[in-house]
């Protein structure tokens, strides 16, 4: 209040003086002037008003972020008890909403603890862990401000608090409040100095080249307590040699570029005859090897990198194909061969209903309890430190350090990537596990690799466990009671198996005595409507179709109306496959979903997909969110994983998809007949991934 009145008073004085000066102007527009002046002045007045003890820095009317805008610093245990809260201790206003809970639910429990920061409403949050004592330190501040000292402050707070922490004690107000105030002041002063020195430096140096900017791939270097991200632009120029190998996949999450202090050893870009390499020899790889004299690291990422390299020349080839002009151009007549009168088809096709036995959804999974031997990664670098690590593991007093974790994590990451997990996801997961293990004391008689393995197993189990119930039957019954049909929309890119698996889901629902209607909203691909019609005939269920070249959204709406008239329980809506980059098609899909508000949006993805899974799901979610008319957009609710029988144990696509979208895997298609539909067995997937 005081600040507001203060700055408004100063502002009004200046406005009057300014208005007096600018009288000759025909239209001075005082409100705008006032607003500008206040916005310029308020930070300054707040600075003066709130921290009297800070050294008066000559302010030359530059807008500086006010130093006290750190809203809250919270210290709590991993079990949930708040140990110290700066709001309460310093008497500041409490936070609006509950950003801490949102942070825990959507970030820390989703294995994204290696992200740089998290934003919720107007707040930005940064955090750090003390893994040995099981404490979490979270700093909350306004998103529009870019405070530079938060990481620094968090590290300092962690250090100091660990000294006074006692598991039995729950009140730290008296001791810690003063320490915190002092640390806060120190951190701010340090940030000011750094900013001043950086400004001096940047005025002398030429601006960083465009190349460095482009190569600043969003690679997160994990761990907390690193200085600000603003200096990353300068440093990323050095470390970005390996970045050209990796797709700078944008995925909309707030990953800040961190200065890569660790040299690019772990940027697994250089292969040399990895034993798992079974792809064709790639010329581009040879070129890369010749260009770089990097340390040769043994990676199993040869497959993924190889395929990535192979797909890179493809887009250019495809463009060439599109430009080719055929000599005999087909006429623009629509190739629509649907015959409105279907009697001929009916007589010929088999009228016998399909009876293929029980759908595999309802069969118990036979969990073979094979022993869980951990296969040791018999790599060279581990043998070097064998004796010392054995000794330390027996002694048990070893505090885990980042450098200790790196080899084990690298081995795990390679193992994951060899199981077809997207490279980015494997990287993020490994960093999240590192963040949760750093600083922890090893138990006695445990190796680092086994600790890391256990932590990774828990993390994988956590990610793959569904966040909400995947019991569709119950939801269908609930919708039935409300008198409306339950609508499921199948979306996905081209050729993943939407129509096939739609029929399988229909078969399963039929076995539970539910009445199903199919809606043929794929009005683009030739033969799509016929395909569904054949399925409907074999399953003996009604199908709603309007032929080709109609608006799918309208067809869907009419299908749902028809189904509710006929008292059908479930409506399965088939849509056309579309690439995630195709803007008009994504807009059409968004229109369909917004118009009909289905109960379940099922993304159909094939298990063979590699790194593209990340891109597909992010873009789909993004488009659905952007083009939605309502504030709470409908995003992808569930995933249907198809072609699962074609991959033996390379089950990583499931992990990539679930991690990126947060949606659970509801069905798994494992064959091409009606009964080949299963539920995802989380434990067996985790076991397969880490084998």
């Amino acid at each position: 209040m005081l600040n507001q009145s203060c700055c408004s008073w100063i502002g009004s004085i200046l406005v009057s003086s300014g208005a007096a000066r600018s009288d000759p102007d025909p239209d001075p527009d005082p409100p705008v002037l006032l607003f500008d002046l206040i916005s310029l002045l308020s930070p300054i007045t707040l600075r003066f008003a709130s921290i009297p003890s800070i050294d008066p820095i000559p302010i030359a009317l530059q807008v500086q972020p006010p130093a006290t805008m750190l809203e809250e610093l919270l210290i709590f245990t991993r079990g949930g008890l708040i140990l110290w809260s700066s709001c309460r201790a310093l008497g500041a206003a409490a936070l609006k909403g509950s950003p801490i809970d949102a942070l825990i639910r959507s970030c820390l429990l989703e294995e994204r603890s290696a992200d740089a920061s998290f934003s919720h409403d107007n707040y930005a949050l940064k955090w750090t862990f003390h893994n040995d004592l099981g404490l979490v330190f979270v700093a909350v501040y306004q998103k529009i401000l870019h405070l530079l000292y938060v990481d620094d402050l968090l590290a300092a707070v962690r250090r100091e608090f660990a000294l006074i922490y006692d598991p039995r004690r729950t009140a730290y107000d008296n001791d810690f409040t003063d320490i915190f105030r002092q640390l806060h002041r120190e951190a701010e002063a340090r940030a000011e100095e750094m900013k001043k020195s950086k400004q001096a430096l940047s005025s002398r140096l030429p601006p960083p080249t465009l190349l460095a900017h482009r190569k600043a791939a969003p690679k997160v270097r994990g761990g907390g307590g690193k200085p600000s991200a603003a200096s990353s632009a300068n440093k990323s120029g050095d470390s970005s040699d390996g970045d050209s190998d990796h797709h700078a996949l944008t995925n909309g999450s707030s990953l800040a570029t961190r200065p890569a202090a660790v040299p690019s050893k772990s940027k697994a870009g250089k292969e040399n005859g990895a034993p798992k390499d079974n792809g064709a020899f790639d010329v581009t790889r040879l070129q890369r090897l010749r260009n770089k004299n990097d340390k040769k690291t043994n990676t199993g990422a040869a497959d993924n990198n190889g395929t990535k390299k192979l797909t890179k020349p493809d887009p250019t080839k495809k463009k060439g194909k599109q430009d080719r002009v055929w000599d005999d151009k087909p006429s623009n007549k629509k190739l629509d061969f649907t015959d409105p009168a279907d009697e001929r088809g009916d007589e010929v096709a088999d009228r016998v209903a399909v009876i293929e036995g029980e759908s595999m959804m309802d069969k118990d999974e036979d969990l073979t309890s094979d022993s869980e031997d951990e296969e040791e990664a018999q790599d060279g670098p581990k043998k070097k430190g064998w004796f010392s690590s054995m000794f330390q593991s027996i002694a048990g007093n070893n505090v885990l350090d980042k450098s200790d974790l790196q080899p084990a994590l690298k081995a795990l990451k390679d193992r994951l990537m060899s199981k077809n997990v997207a490279e980015e996801i494997a990287e993020k997961l490994c960093e999240s596990v590192a963040a949760s293990l750093e600083g922890k004391k090893l138990g006695s008689f445990t190796r680092i690799s086994s600790t890391v393995q256990t932590a990774m197993e828990e993390a994988l189990l956590r990610i793959l466990t569904p966040r909400r119930s995947i019991d569709i039957l119950r939801d269908v019954h609930a919708a039935k009671e409300r008198g409306r049909p339950y609508v499921i929309v199948f979306v996905g890119v081209n050729g993943v198996g939407k129509s096939t698996n739609l029929a399988k889901v229909a078969y399963w629902l039929l076995q539970h005595n539910l009445s199903v209607t199919l809606a043929a909203c794929d009005t683009f691909r030739s033969g799509a409507v016929e395909q569904l019609r054949t399925h409907a005939r074999r399953l003996q269920i009604p199908i709603f179709e309007k032929g080709y070249e109609k608006d799918p959204a309208v067809v869907a709406r009419e299908a749902i109306q028809e189904a509710s008239r006929n008292k059908s329980d479930v409506v399965l809506v088939d849509t056309a496959g579309r690439m995630q980059d195709n803007e008009p098609l994504m807009r059409a899909l968004s229109k369909l979903i917004n118009l009909n508000s289905p109960d379940l949006v099922l993304f159909v993805g094939e298990a063979l997909v590699g790194n593209d899974a990340v891109d597909q799901l992010t873009k789909f979610n993004q488009k659905l969110a952007d083009l939605s008319a309502v504030p709470t957009a409908r995003l992808i609710d569930g995933i249907l994983l198809t072609k699962f029988d074609t991959i033996d144990d390379k089950v990583g696509a499931a992990l990539s998809m679930v991690y990126i979208s947060g949606a659970p895997v509801m069905f798994v298609g494992c064959g091409q007949s009606y009964t080949d539909l299963k539920k995802l067995n989380v434990k067996s997937i985790v076991k397969t991934l880490l084998k």
Partner: protein, 256 residues
Amino acid sequence: MDEWIRQAELWVGQAESWIRQQPSEQIYVAAAVVAVTILVLIAASCLKSSKPNTIVLSGLSGSGKTTLFYQLRDGSSHQGTVTSMEENNDTFVLHSEQERKGKVKPVHIVDVPGHARLKPKLDEVLPKAAGVIFVVDAQDFLSSMQAAAEYLYDILTKATVVKKKVPVLIFCNKTDKVTAHSKEFIKKQLEKEINKLRESRNAISSADISDEVQLGFPGEAFNFSQCQNKVTVAEGAGSTGNVSPAEQFIREYVKA
């Protein structure tokens, strides 16, 4: 070194000759006594360890389990809680019983996180449970009714819970708020939801849960009295300290 070895050999020789001198019955009696003692010790330790004394606090995320845990332990919830990421595991004497004279047995209470992704932690703890307190948010009940019923259904159909007849207390928390529902309402709604779950789940046997047990009697509406283990409902408020029903439950099932 050699001297010690010689000394030891001497002692062994002496012991041997002494034993040979004793009448044989005494030796047999001595051996029998030793054997019986060992057997008794083993039996006692077996019996002691098979009786679990863990109380499990479970429920949905945000229902007030961690608050209740700290109320039971320290008598106050300190500065508040956030969503738990790990379980709270402690053995202590209940706060209200600390002033009681005489020997009070400490209670082992485990507060399991309620977040859906941490569900496997509950499966680890349940086999050792002597009693389960299922905490329900009485204020925000209607929006979380389905999820709460599903969670409760999962607990009630676990094979270990049914076989050992583990008692369950449904603790309606946050009744100090004005808009909180009554415990009878909550009980009825939960029974209805579990009934619906029963029908949809009986038709299939889900692939993951292989040890599901049928609840209640088919054809009849579900009622908590149909469960083989005892299910009771109580209300209280964790933040104000009104947790006496939980304490009574604990004292009843963990013998002091």
